[in-house]
């Protein structure tokens, strides 16, 4: 049995790593829950953002936070444009899965063409920065990621519940025809939401560039676990996505420390199956 310090460190590292799951899950959850579109290209947009931040940082020496200020609005525009295509071709939930998968494959190919399949690492002054609290080490980048994810999740949750636009979006997600008959222009709102989801991919991509090693095939590395996070956190619920991400991150990390790294994926998917067996209407 590992020591209490090791378990505590595993818990902290897991929660912080889960922040990335939550951040990636948020945009996917909004799009799936409120637009009924399963947007697999979310992962591709996150990695495209990561590569752009890497490119700007390594070749043009642009600070990552300035790169984010350019990448995030650009992703918002791509998200809105994507929705224009979905709307134009009347893409439904199932078709969205296939179309966005294709889009992700194209982006992956584009990344490989430009940046090659080599592993790339963006080393910055923040990469290894950490501080110590008691016996535990806290990595500054991961902590920043969690704080940013927390602010975005909380802000989005409040926006969906307290503003006219947010409530109208939730009403339109439940019954678009009835919402339209009450004057809710759900098409315009859908552009906004699609843009916000993609912008979150841009935020996630900035942190991916700073934390992870980049390779085109990595686009798919988090697909399974993030889908589990989206469902465990409940569709359309940004706070749920963040909490679920941290829960799975912590569980994976503890499983790795107590059992072996091979058990990590078993934990998240067992959790997903258990929740769906307990409440089949959970989604």
């Amino acid at each position: 049995m590992p020591s209490a310090t090791l378990l505590g460190q595993a818990l902290i590292s897991g929660v912080l790593a889960g922040g990335m799951y939550g951040l990636l899950a948020m945009g996917l959850s909004l799009s799936w829950g409120l637009l009924r579109l399963v947007n697999l290209s979310h992962f591709a947009l996150a990695f495209l953002s990561a590569y752009i931040v890497y490119e700007l940082g390594t070749n043009y020496h642009v600070e990552p936070w300035w790169s984010a200020a350019m990448v995030v609005p650009a992703m918002f525009c791509i998200g809105a444009l994507q929705h224009w295509l979905f709307d134009r071709f009347k893409v439904n939930e199932l078709a969205s899965l296939l179309i966005t998968f294709s889009f992700a494959v194209i982006v992956e190919a584009g990344i490989q063409l430009y940046w090659t399949a080599d592993y790339r690492r963006y080393e910055t002054e923040y990469s290894t920065l950490s501080f110590k609290t008691g016996p535990f080490y806290i990595p500054v980048l991961e902590l920043t990621l969690c704080m940013v994810a927390g602010v975005l999740a909380w802000g989005t949750w409040l926006w969906l519940r307290k503003t006219y636009v947010g409530k109208a979006l939730r009403a339109a997600a439940e019954d678009p025809e009835i919402a339209a008959a009450y004057g809710v222009d759900h098409k315009k709102l859908a552009y906004l939401l699609s843009g916000i989801g993609a912008a979150y991919a841009g935020v996630a991509g900035t942190f991916i560039a700073l934390i992870a090693t980049l390779a085109p095939a990595q686009i798919w590395a988090w697909l399974g676990v993030v889908f589990a996070v989206v469902i465990i956190g409940r569709l359309g619920n940004p706070l749920g996505a963040l909490f679920a991400g941290m829960l799975i991150g912590a569980s994976e990390s503890i499983a790795m420390a107590v059992l072996s790294p091979a058990w990590a994926p078993v934990v998240s998917f067992s959790m997903l199956i258990a929740i769906l067996l307990w409440d089949p209407d959970w989604i």
């Binding site: 006219y164 409530k167 939730r170 009403a171 004057g183």
Partner: protein, 235 residues
């Protein structure tokens, strides 16, 4: 009395099915109209056609002098059509208050005024729509439509399937809306005796056509048309 709504030569239905044929009607500002008829004669189709969710084959509609024939439902709603659908269709995942505020537009009907009209809704303001009883859902459906501050309120069988005590409560509220507040409205009902006392005029539909139009008071005084077309008396 100036016309608020005009419907001329309207033929409409769903898909290829023509349900309404050559419907013509006028509704004045502040007027309440009862639409009566047996099951399946096209009452709901008439309401749905004014809302804009049916297929129109011929005819035209105006609201406040403005042509709305080709406008989408959301544009018609913005011009002042408030709809209480037969199935109520409240947003089940939203709270009672959110159901109202999600569609609310500026005007005299604020959330507080809706709660004053239906105090039960105020008591349940933080409950999910899905947790309400049938009568409360109907109150919410009416309150939600009022919160859009409509010029014309369309109610499709508002008392259907409700307990008598709730029906009385709803009719009292509708009477207040049409009699005291002067709101214009069209109420579809199968049970004439419930709504004739709170409306100004009534029309009877039979197989998608208007077969009778008169003042509601006339129908209450002489129920012959009701007996003929609905097989019931007005009392």
């Amino acid at each position: 009395m100036a016309d608020l709504l005009t419907v001329d030569g309207l033929s409409a239905g769903y898909g290829r099915a023509v349900v309404l044929s050559d419907i013509a009607l006028r509704l004045g500002e502040g007027e309440a109209l009862a639409v009566l008829g047996r099951n399946g004669v096209g009452k709901t189709t008439l309401i749905d056609s004014i809302v804009g969710v049916t297929r129109r084959f011929a005819g035209s509609l105006t609201l406040g002098g403005r042509e709305i024939t080709t406008l989408a439902p959301e544009a018609r709603a913005m011009l002042g059509i408030g709809w209480v659908p037969q199935e109520r269709n409240i947003f089940r995942s939203l709270t009672v208050e959110e159901n109202i505020t999600a569609v609310a537009r500026p005007g005299p009907w604020t959330t507080d005024r809706v709660f004053a009209l239906f105090p039960r809704l105020k008591e349940r303001r933080r409950q999910a729509g899905s947790s309400l009883s049938g009568g409360e859902q109907q109150m919410l459906a009416i309150g939600r439509a009022l919160a859009t501050n409509p010029r014309l309120l369309l109610l499709d069988e508002p008392t259907e399937g409700l307990a008598p005590i709730i029906v009385e409560e709803l009719l009292a509220a509708l009477s207040k809306l049409f009699r005291s507040e002067g709101l214009s409205g069209i109420i579809v009902e199968q049970h004439a005796q419930k709504i004739l006392p709170i409306t100004d005029r009534a029309l009877i539909l039979e197989r998608g056509r208007v077969v009778h139009q008169s003042a509601s008071a006339e129908l209450l005084a002489d129920a012959t048309p009701l007996e003929r077309f609905l097989g019931v008396t007005g009392r």
